[in-house]
Amino acid sequence: MLVRSVSERHAPANESWKPMLGPSVAWYLCVAAFLFATGALGVLLRRNPLIVLLSLEIMLNGGNLALIGYARHLGDGAGQIFAIAVMAIAASEVVVGLGLVVAMNRKHLTLDVDRLNTLRG
């Protein structure tokens, strides 16, 4: 509410509406779904933990694209806030994941997620 009233005060009434050009949000959601599925394929398929991390980034980006598409569709900025929070979580995940990869490399373990099964129950 606060945001809307402030932005309306700053902007002149009718001229500042931005129409949405190009494809509708459904196409963006299709791209997001395909990205998510591609990332899931990488996570399931690849054995190198570095590429598993890269594929996780693709999955997170697919989610981000859906969030931003719905933010534009609903005219609500909260989706963009969520996308930025997801970006911060992804950065944290990369820090911890790459730290693990470097630690495994230092212990001379093979970088193969099929062989790193010491914790298997």
């Binding site: 606060l2 932005s7 599925a37 190198n48 890269l54 931003i68 534009r72 569709h73 963009q80 820090v95």
Partner: protein
């Protein structure tokens, strides 16, 4: 009217380019055998996603995507890949095993599932976009939302980043004595990574 339709065609063309670059580079990340090339393809993926964000009038998120992801995170990835050395690991080598077939089937099922669910639940309402004004997605609006409605998310994110930084330091920390003991316990002779 003519101007509007010309703009529409232009946006469609940019969207097609960005979307296909995005999908192609995503597939390239998954299927390159060298992790270095996968990371480079992911940079292309992030850049084309930033173009899509711009088309969705999320200017601040697009800039943050390029700076944070394409800049900081990917530099870290490339640094680690250079540190541990490129290891070839072809996903399609050795013919189709049951794992490859299962992974492709599972990913395809995920895609179909998402499209069907979104199509069933929201296909009618996706045609009409809400009106937004020109400040939508600008840094001032994002900052205002962050510090009013979503203050808790902002603070929790900062704590998560702090925890991740501490975790990175703990994972990266090692003393010479510990690594020698670990190498003895694993029964490997101590080598330097470069050798």
């Amino acid at each position: 009217m003519l101007l509007a339709s010309a703009g529409n065609v232009l946006v469609w063309a940019v969207w097609m380019g960005a979307a296909f670059a995005c999908l192609g580079s995503g597939i390239a990340v998954v299927s390159f055998s060298n992790p270095f090339f996968s990371a480079l393809a992911l940079i292309g993926n992030l850049a084309s996603l930033a173009v899509l964000y711009l088309l969705l009038s999320a200017e601040f998120v697009a800039a943050a995507q390029v700076l944070v992801y394409g800049g900081a995170v990917m530099v870290m990835f490339l640094f680690v890949i250079g540190y541990i050395g490129p290891r070839q690991d072809s996903p399609w080598a050795g013919g189709p095993s049951w794992q490859v077939v299962g992974a492709v089937l599972a990913a395809g099922a995920l895609f179909v599932e998402i499209v069907v669910v979104v199509g069933l639940k929201a296909s009618g309402s996706l045609a009409h976009q809400a009106k937004i004004d020109s400040s939508f997605g600008s840094p001032s609006q994002i900052g205002r939302l962050f510090l009013t409605d979503h203050l808790l998310a902002f603070e929790v994110t900062s704590i998560v980043l702090l925890v991740a930084a501490v975790g990175g330091v703990i994972l990266g920390h090692h003393s010479r004595r510990e690594s020698a003991a670990g190498a003895r316990a694993l029964g490997v002779r101590e080598t330097r990574p470069g050798q």
